[in-house]
Symmetry: C2
Subunit: 577 residues, 2 copies
């Protein structure tokens, strides 16, 4: 059987940064060539970054993308890499609009493509067939689907090329790989991290490999992009379901793997709608068998790594020098500060303690203790005088006065952000945001919410894990034990605790998982055995939180991690069911 050496470039592009992304691809091509590879495969849209959203509707952006792929071909040849076959993902266009709609607005003018480069030229191009338009994906909105399959013949092997969702669809291009007699299937992907996704993705890749009796080379992007994190975890699986190679999660990596695909029958005819292109193989022989198989860490470490990378890339890709956040001594701000220190280094993290007359001595001590353990910058800015002048002038009491405390804190860290260029972090967790246990323009003020997709019970679990992880390495546990064990409190009035107004967090998170994430109705949840009075109370909190946002702010829409998008709902509505 012919042997092919594959190199999978698991890269971390910046959306729209064609020059920087091209540099990464050229560097990967050089490393691949030096390692004896025949072919380099990038992730989906590695040249432009992903997702590009409505940049795909901007003709000048598409012209820039096309110029970048042409320039990449020329540059690879000029740098002595012309014999390497490079399969690169990028958007292409502008094309004639797919359709004109009711508002007479043009619809999609772009395609989601993979181009095959060799000898300084584009040899062939594949356009993605299946455009996902659910959860976090909006591709059908901005792309025109392709309808042709691409097969490269290389060293006598037929090599098919498809993109991401194409692999998942029964009856999609994968079915036609069999007809096309391909021995190797290349898949370019931009597949975001979700908890437990490795329990879905690898089995799917394996199933496809086995059912088509084809070697599947699956390359994914890596890196944070707004509220998505791509985890990498690129993999090569043979037709018996054996893993031949696997890249580590959450970092850039060039995965070099040797494969021995079945050769094509020389007289096999290409089926209709299949473009078959002959590409040259390099003349010299590769050395020893290349194998590279990473192990995945456990679930909590994966999640922590996702949170860290998501924040790091939001900071670095946007060019922020540093971050600022309020540190209260509570669990949420302690975990956010630790994520920030792990992401960009403690010397770029600024914590501000902003005690009021309701803040306990212990809270201020816990905040100072956290800052010292992490080594972050720390300052104390009491809010009493400012709150007093506002309360007195307006004659405020009760909840409106509690909101003023939170808003004065938000105002203080936004002032620090404006003065020093810090990115402002907001510490709300998913539970708190869902039930509205927060103040609009107060504690919700900020540009990035590191734990907005982490339920409260999981915040505690992560805190304990992070401390154990430190201990196992002989390091100081970053999070004060007291912040983990004390009863959570907003400290906006005397002796307040979260459980004064909220059900126990373990029960609350179970109900929120059903009501918010899985979109079950109240009756559906009660039918699962939860108490009616609790379900109705939680549902009322969620609906009320949405109503309060309508009244004062549509949001708090901050960037942050979204492992799946829970709800995209009309604002003005009276939902039934």
């Amino acid at each position: 059987m012919p042997r092919l050496r594959l190199a999978l470039a698991q890269s971390n592009p910046i959306v729209g940064d064609f020059a920087g992304n091209s540099d990464k691809i050229v560097a990967a091509a050089r490393e691949a060539w030096d390692a004896g590879a025949d072919l380099l495969l990038t992730g989906e849209m590695a040249l432009s970054g992903y997702p590009i959203e409505d940049l795909a509707a901007q003709p000048s952006f598409l012209r820039a993308a096309r110029a970048a792929v042409d320039a990449l071909a020329v540059r690879l040849a000029a740098e002595g890499l012309g014999d390497l076959v490079v399969v690169v993902g990028h958007p292409d266009g502008p094309f004639e609009p797919r359709l004109l709609g009711t508002s007479n607005a043009p619809t999609a003018i772009a395609q989601n493509c993979a181009s095959v480069i060799q000898g300084g030229a584009i040899r062939a191009r594949y356009a993605k067939h299946h455009l996902p338009n659910y959860s976090v994906f909006d591709e059908y909105r901005v792309f025109i689907p392709g309808d042709e399959l691409l097969v490269l013949r290389m060293k006598g092997v037929d090599v098919a090329v498809i993109i991401c969702e194409d692999l998942w669809r029964d009856g999609g291009p994968v079915g036609r790989v069999l007809d096309a007699d391909a021995g190797l299937l290349l898949v370019l992907n931009a597949s975001p991290y979700e908890r437990d996704k490795d329990e879905v993705r690898l089995p799917l890749v394996t199933r496809r490999a086995v059912e088509t009796d084809t070697i599947v080379a699956y390359v994914n992007l890596v890196g944070g992009q707004d509220d998505l994190v791509f985890d990498g975890d690129s993999v090569v699986v043979d037709g018996q379901g054996t893993i031949l190679g696997r890249a580590p999660q959450f970092r850039e990596h060039l995965l070099v793997v040797d494969v021995d695909p079945a050769p094509a029958e020389a007289d096999h005819e290409a089926p209709p709608a299949v473009l078959r292109v002959e590409v040259d193989a390099r003349g010299d022989e590769a050395g020893d068998l290349a194998r590279d198989i990473a192990e995945l860490p456990d679930d909590r470490e994966q999640l922590w790594n996702a949170l860290v990378l998501g924040l790091r890339d939001y900071v670095e890709k946007n060019g922020f020098p540093s971050v600022v956040l309020g540190v209260s001594g509570g669990i949420d701000s302690s975990v956010c500060a630790t994520i920030a220190a792990d992401a960009i280094g403690a010397d770029r993290v600024y914590g501000i303690s902003m005690p009021s007359r309701y803040s306990s001595e212990g809270s201020v001590d816990d905040a100072a203790d956290l800052a010292q353990r992490l080594g972050i910058h720390y300052s104390v800015e009491p809010i009493g005088d400012i709150v007093a002048v506002i309360e007195n002038q307006l004659g405020l009491t009760g909840v409106p006065a509690e909101n003023v405390q939170a808003r004065v804190r938000g105002l203080l860290w936004m002032a620090e952000s404006n003065r020093n260029g810090h990115l402002a972090l907001t510490n709300g967790n998913k539970t708190e945001v869902s039930v509205g246990y927060s103040t609009i323009y107060g504690d919700t003020a900020g540009g990035f919410a590191p734990i907005k997709d982490v339920p409260k019970t999981l915040v505690w679990e992560l805190a304990r894990w992070r401390n154990e992880y430190a201990v196992a390495r002989g390091e100081t546990p970053p999070i004060p034990q007291n912040s983990i064990t004390k009863p959570p409190s907003a400290e906006l009035r005397p002796d307040q605790t979260d459980q004064d107004t909220l059900p126990p967090y373990d029960l609350l998170d179970e109900i929120l998982e059903r009501y918010v994430s899985r979109r079950l109705g109240r009756e559906d949840i009660i039918a699962e055995g939860y108490e009616r009075v609790t379900v109705e109370y939680v549902a009322k909190l969620v609906d009320r939180a949405e109503w309060k946002r309508r009244q004062g702010a549509i949001g708090p829409k901050v960037s942050g991690m979204a492992f799946g998008r829970d709800r995209r709902l009309p604002i003005t509505s009276r939902p039934a069911g």
Copy 2:
């Protein structure tokens, strides 16, 4: 020729309010029956409201929708309206998911349907074929397309039923109306207002009527729904292109029109994939020829009406008692206050003047003058003492100090919102929001932005128009002349005017129209003849404003009018082109 009396129910539903929306349809059915109509036609999804976004992914919501349409059929018969043919729009489901995607999340489980009710039962159901997924539409995300055409035979006439986008697609169901030999085409729509859309929509309806030689009855929803406004403007056009009936814009209306469609050939066979259903016609004869043709007002009056209805429905459908806004004496807040008074009545509008040491005497006088002309509630809350304590404690100067002034104002009206339940309005116009001439969590704080889609030059034009409109009616012009004529200023430092840092507004708005709304690249705009230095400066302001939002707030995402959605962009990106 057979005569049919059609009744088109141009109704204003609330999303998810099945009970209230059913009441409206029953009331329209009674009025139609009493007026001698054979058939009542509602707008698209009139039973559920539109758009329902991801409520379409919630099985309990779909079950409630199906129960509501079944109950509607029973109720119509029980109330003596069983002989009337009622064609009603609603979502249907849950169905098996269209597909399972890469994240293993189910995709669409709903269809966008029209059901034909007669004799207490659902006689037939049509599912929309073409699901728009561009601009403000996301239907392909949440609906499964239909593939069958529906034809009712009634008084010997073949009556085809389609939904909205189906009408716009060349090669769509409209083409098959000819094959189906229909004499009458019923179209259920949810078509939002855009400036000058009447120059597109009516010609399209007319063209379809003429090219199929069919009478087209086109009914649209009316009302505000979050950042959309449906304008109504339902119309009936015959095969010669003559308008037989037209409903007024921006209010509910039952349009009753007689039509004389060509009868079907008795032996004409239904083409494949066409469901033909026989429905009964009422026995008695209708009276005199029914005709009802409204005139459209001019462009500025239409726009004003759209802004007023958009705010009114956001307030009323969400159940807010009143609104609060800052009134500075400037043009933006004056126009917003006037829209609010027109929308919900002056006695539900609370204006607060919040002068600082930089506010001119004239500004405070203009704000008081506006409040008196409108008759709204008015109070003065100086911010000097609050700003002083913050500036002193933090040692702030320059732009961070200017931002504090704006944020203290936002804090004050949010406190009033919290205390009294007012909806908070934010006064930013489209120009200001685009170039970031505003403070995050300051003047941008609020739940609804009445003029967020109105460029500054158009704000002035509307102000002048509204005053002329008042004068023509012998009323007091609401907006002080001084607010219209004085140079605009943020008044955050001495002698500041907008033109210190921004190009002249007429030039700025022209460039923003191209860079933001039409998605042209810098070079494209320069090629149109605009000065390079100005284009690059404006583009830099827009990009910088987006960057500042990344740093401190992803937003300010507030609800408000969106006549088309300009950009849906990645946050983290370096856009080329």
